[in-house]
C-alpha cells in the first residue's frame, strides 16, 4: 500500500520538499523566523528520508507508527519537537511541521494516479492516517517537554524562594514568600537548620509578610519549623503577621505559641535585646538633617 507514497517520495524528493517548505512557512511552522532556513531544510530533508524508508519497510498497511519501522521517524520528530518546545513554539506551530506535509503530498498523489478517484481516496486515507499519528506524536512530545520545563522551574522557584538571611551575628531572618505546603516546609526547615549550624545562630526571625494565607495546615508547618529550630538550640520569633491574617488565625482557632511581632524591625529589635545589644543613634544632627 504505502509503496506508492514511498515511491513518490523517492521520485519527487526535491519537489515535495520545496512545496512542503512553502506550506510550512505559510502555516506559521517557522514560528515567525525563530528557526533558521538552513536548519529547517535539513530537518525536513531528514524527515522525508526517514519517512520514505519507514514507509518502504513497513509491512502492514494499517498505518500504525508505533512499529520498529518508524523508530527513526519517531526519534527525529521527538528531537524536532523538543527543540521547538525549548524555542517557545506553540503546539500548533510545532504540529504544523508534520501537517503541512499533507498538501504537497496529496497534490503529488493526484498527479501520479490521474483519474483513478477511488485509489486517490484510498491512498489519501492511508497517508492521512500516518501523518495524523505523527502529528499527534509531535504534539505529545511537545507537551511533555513543556511539562519538564515547568517542573524544573518549579524546583528552581522552591529553591530560590526560601532564602535565609543573616541580619547580625547570631541572628537569622527567614522571609517566607508564597504558600507553605509540606514540600516547601521541608525545604525551608532544612535550609534554616543548616544555616543555624553554619552560622551558630541563636535567634531566627521567621517573617511571614509574603505568606498570603495562614490556615491550620500552614500554622502546623510553621510550628514544626519552630520546634525543630528550638531542638537545635535556637529561638524563633514570628513577624510580619498582617492584620487580616491575625484575624483569620484567631477565628480559625489557630494558636502559635511563640513570640510574635508585627514587623520585622520589631522582631530584630527584640532579637538584639535578647543577645544583649542595643541600637544607639550616633549622630543626632546628621540623621535629623537627612530626614528633612
Amino acid at each position: 500500500m504505502a509503496t506508492i507514497l514511498s515511491s513518490i517520495l523517492e521520485a519527487h524528493d526535491g519537489e515535495v520538499l520545496a512545496q512542503w517548505l512553502v506550506a510550512l512557512k505559510a502555516s506559521g511552522g517557522t514560528g515567525g523566523g525563530r528557526i533558521k532556513e538552513g536548519e529547517l531544510q535539513t530537518q525536513c530533508r531528514h524527515f522525508l528520508d526517514a519517512l520514505r524508508q519507514a514507509l518502504a519497510t513497513a509491512k502492514n498497511s494499517d498505518g500504525n507508527i508505533q512499529g520498529a519501522a518508524f523508530e527513526d521517524v519517531r526519534e527525529l520528530l521527538a528531537d524536532v519537537s523538543r527543540s521547538r518546545a525549548a524555542q517557545g513554539f506553540s503546539p500548533t506551530e510545532t504540529a504544523s511541521f508534520v501537517f503541512s506535509l499533507k498538501q504537497p503530498l496529496f497534490e503529488r498523489l493526484r498527479q501520479e494516479l490521474g483519474g483513478d478517484t477511488a485509489r486517490i481516496v484510498d491512498e489519501s486515507w492511508q497517508a492521512t492516517q500516518v501523518l495524523d499519528q505523527l502529528g499527534l506524536y509531535t504534539t505529545e512530545i511537545h507537551q511533555k517537554s513543556r511539562e519538564d520545563i515547568v517542573a524544573r522551574q518549579q524546583a528552581e522557584i522552591a529553591e530560590l524562594s526560601t532564602p535565609v538571611v543573616k541580619l547580625w551575628h547570631g541572628i537569622l531572618a527567614l522571609p517566607l514568600i508564597g504558600t507553605l505546603d509540606s514540600a516547601r516546609t521541608q525545604v525551608v526547615m532544612e535550609n534554616l537548620l543548616q544555616s543555624i549550624v553554619d552560622q551558630g545562630a541563636e535567634i531566627a526571625i521567621i517573617d511571614i509578610t509574603g505568606v498570603p494565607t495562614v490556615d491550620t495546615l500552614v500554622a502546623q508547618h510553621l510550628l514544626k519549623t519552630i520546634a525543630a529550630a528550638r531542638l537545635m538550640g535556637a529561638d524563633c520569633i514570628v513577624s510580619g503577621i498582617r492584620p487580616q491574617i491575625a484575624q483569620t488565625m484567631v477565628h480559625l482557632g489557630v494558636e502559635l505559641n511563640v513570640v510574635s511581632k508585627a514587623s520585622l524591625a520589631d522582631a530584630f529589635a527584640l532579637a538584639l535585646q535578647r543577645t544583649g545589644r542595643t541600637v544607639v543613634r550616633s549622630k543626632l544632627a546628621g540623621t535629623l538633617a537627612a530626614r528633612t
Binding site: 521541608q186 526547615m189 532544612e190 537548620l193 543548616q194 543555624i196 549550624v197 551558630g200 545562630a201 541563636e202 535567634i203 514544626k224 520546634a227 525543630a228 529550630a229 528550638r230 531542638l231 537545635m232 538550640g233 535556637a234 529561638d235 535578647r274 543577645t275 544583649g276
Partner: protein, 136 residues
C-alpha cells in the same frame, strides 16, 4: 558492655554521645547518669549529641526521660549539638522535647547552665535558686 562516659566539669556533668546509641546503651546511660548526679551533687547535665546521626522514637523518649529524672534530682538538662536531620526527625515523630533545654554547642550549653549568658536569663535564674538550696 559499652558505657557512655560521664565527665564532671565544675558543677555540671558532660555526656558526649559519640557513637550511635542503641536502646540498652541509652538505658544504661539513664542509670549511670542518675547515680552520678546524686554522688557528685551536680547542678546541670550537658548532653552533647553532635555525634548522633540516627534517632528513633525510643531515643527521643529517652532524652525526655533523662531530662525528667535529672530535674527530679535538681539538675538542669541541656541537650546540645543536635544535627538538623535529627531535629527534623524528632519533630516529625511528634517529639519536640518540651521539657528539655537546648543549645547550639557545648559552649553555649555550659553558659546556659552556669548562667553567665545574656539571653539565657530564664535558665540562670533557675540555677541560682537551686544553687542556694544546694549549699544549705
Amino acid at each position: 558492655m559499652d558505657r557512655i562516659p560521664i565527665l564532671k566539669l565544675g558543677r555540671a556533668l558532660l555526656v558526649t554521645v559519640q557513637v550511635d546509641m542503641h536502646d540498652r546503651l541509652a538505658m544504661a546511660l539513664e542509670e549511670d547518669l542518675s547515680a552520678k548526679i546524686v554522688t557528685t551533687g551536680a547542678r546541670g547535665v550537658l548532653i552533647d549529641i553532635s555525634g548522633l546521626e540516627i534517632v528513633d522514637s525510643f531515643m527521643g523518649r529517652m532524652l525526655d526521660t533523662i531530662a525528667a529524672v535529672s530535674r527530679l534530682l535538681d539538675a538542669d538538662t541541656v541537650v546540645v549539638g543536635m544535627r538538623p536531620a535529627v531535629a527534623i526527625t524528632l519533630v516529625e515523630l511528634g517529639l519536640s522535647l518540651n521539657g528539655v533545654k537546648t543549645a547550639l554547642d557545648v559552649d553555649r550549653g555550659m553558659a546556659l547552665i552556669t548562667g553567665d549568658y545574656g539571653h539565657a536569663s530564664e535558665g540562670s535564674e533557675d540555677l541560682e535558686d537551686s544553687d542556694d538550696r544546694g549549699e544549705g
